[in-house]
């Protein structure tokens, strides 16, 4: 019997779903090997049909997007109930992703910014003729998937690249399942496989930090050596250095390697250490080239920052028992 697979999206942009299509003709082989039982973005499945399936009857659920509304939390819990294995797919599910930058402010401020006091301010509930419709609650905090339900595996990337998706699906379907809690990607830093590695000076020392739009970037030299804050030293490899090949710096979407607890802390260390200044004022001058440290260093992982980590949630596992904690 083919393994039953579910796909679902939460707070995400749809890029993770498109990334699946980026497998091109290889997608046909994947679709041959599995039975899709739930994938609302691509095919017409209804929540009530999925909810009627027995617990644990789905083999793998790929969930992308962060959790930031009560509806997403509800769906994550439902998927957890039905699936033997839950995979956090993409940077948002793994680390909080771009939507996670909302954690720099509160839900109330966001709603006020977007709707102000305008007449379009959303009603959270509407009743007519005995029928009631309610909008999901917007949480104050954007959460990675494993803060809401236990997660077996992580597929990194914004979005995950086809090679990573293929090897992840291959590993999961072959039954050669890696250790639970693994990130299904290589466990070394991006610099190790960077095509510009040979041009990186042994003693990297930069006198000026510049954003990509502030200078012409040489397409062969190490980006850090050119003063562009490239997060390759702190970021997990596996993407095929796509951004670097496009002459853009790594912004860290593959998240940390296995030995790092806090991505932003590590990225901060990598950038600050190579500044070529020993004196406070001069260091401050160079740092003006990095005007938004939190947004740059935690671009995809603010909800996973140690500081915003809340005490352990009491997870409810598939069998209704509290699951063991899921820190990675």
């Amino acid at each position: 019997m083919k393994p039953k697979v579910a796909f679902y999206w939460c707070a995400s942009c749809g890029g993770c779903e498109e990334a699946v299509l980026d497998l091109y003709e290889d997608l046909l082989a994947v679709l041959d090997a599995i039975e899709i039982v739930f994938w609302p973005v691509a095919l017409d499945f209804k929540e009530h049909d999925f909810a009627a399936m027995p617990e644990g009857s789905v083999d793998i659920a790929f969930v992308n997007g962060a959790i930031r509304t009560s509806d997403q939390k509800h769906m994550a819990t439902l998927l957890r109930e039905k699936a033997k294995v839950v995979v956090a797919f993409g940077a948002c599910a793994q680390l909080g992703g771009i939507p996670g930058l909302a954690n720099l402010t509160t839900a109330e401020e966001i709603l006020h910014d977007v709707y102000g006091d305008a007449a379009t301010m959303p009603q959270t509930e509407y009743r007519e003729d005995g029928v009631s419709l309610a909008l999901p609650e917007l949480f104050d905090q954007v959460l990675p998937l494993d803060r809401v339900v236990p997660v077996e595996y992580y597929v990194p990337g914004c979005p995950p690249t086809p090679n990573i998706i293929q090897s992840a699906i291959g590993a999961l379907l072959s039954g050669l399942a890696p250790v639970r809690g693994s990130v299904l990607a290589p466990d070394h830093a991006l610099c190790e496989e960077c095509p510009r590695k040979a041009t990186r000076p042994v003693d990297l020392a930069i006198e000026r930090l510049r954003q990509v739009h502030e200078q012409l970037i040489d397409s062969e030299t190490c980006l850090l050596a050119q003063g562009v804050p490239c997060l390759g030293p702190a970021t997990r490899a596996g993407c095929g250095t796509r951004c670097i090949r496009g002459n853009m710096p790594c912004t860290g979407c593959f998240g940390p390697t296995g030995r790092v607890r806090d991505y932003g802390g590590k990225a901060l260390s990598a950038i600050a250490s190579i500044l070529s200044a020993d004196e406070e004022q001069e260091i401050g001058r160079i740092l003006e080239g990095l005007p938004d440290p939190a947004g740059t260093l935690y671009r995809y992982s603010l909800p996973s920052c140690s500081l915003t980590r809340k005490p352990e949630y009491t997870h409810v596992g598939r069998n209704g028992k509290p699951a063991e904690s899921n820190h990675h």
Partner: protein, 141 residues
């Protein structure tokens, strides 16, 4: 009357200067605030920003890093690396809603036992004025 707030300070002191200064403060029987928990590291350059974030996440009200004076680092440049990381880290934690006074860096040589006393006393007094840590922005309390 409510008990006075006693801040918890995690202090990372380098093995060659600041830790020896703390030792000197002890053997000189200097009296200073008992709020700092000192962790000895080989060099202030060993203090990974992750350590500071973790300390704050686990409930420290402030973090103090102590290293050798510029030019005196046992490993030549560890203290300069510490300074660069500290300056960027302080900019970043402010964005996350943490007051800059909670993260502090001081150069204290092995001979400056009295400076250990003064620095810790001042930091504890500052933290008492600030009060306990507020929840970080975006985190529902």
């Amino acid at each position: 009357m409510p008990e006075e707030f006693e801040p918890r300070v995690v202090a990372f002191f380098c093995n060659w200067c600041t830790y020896l200064a703390a030792d000197l403060a002890g053997t000189s029987r200097l009296k200073y605030a008992p709020n700092a928990r000192i962790i000895r590291v080989m060099c202030s350059g060993r203090v990974d920003p992750q350590f500071v974030l973790e300390a704050l996440a686990e409930g420290a009200d402030g973090v103090l890093i102590g290293g050798c004076h510029p030019g005196d680092c046992h490993y030549q440049s560890g203290n300069y690396k510490a300074l660069r990381r500290f300056l960027l880290l302080r900019r970043m934690v402010v964005q996350l809603g943490i007051e800059p006074e909670r993260v502090h860096l001081e150069w204290i040589s092995a001979a400056e036992g009295d400076r250990v006393r003064a620095v810790i006393d001042k930091m504890v007094a500052d933290l008492k004025r600030l009060g306990p840590r507020r929840p970080v922005l975006g985190v529902a309390s």
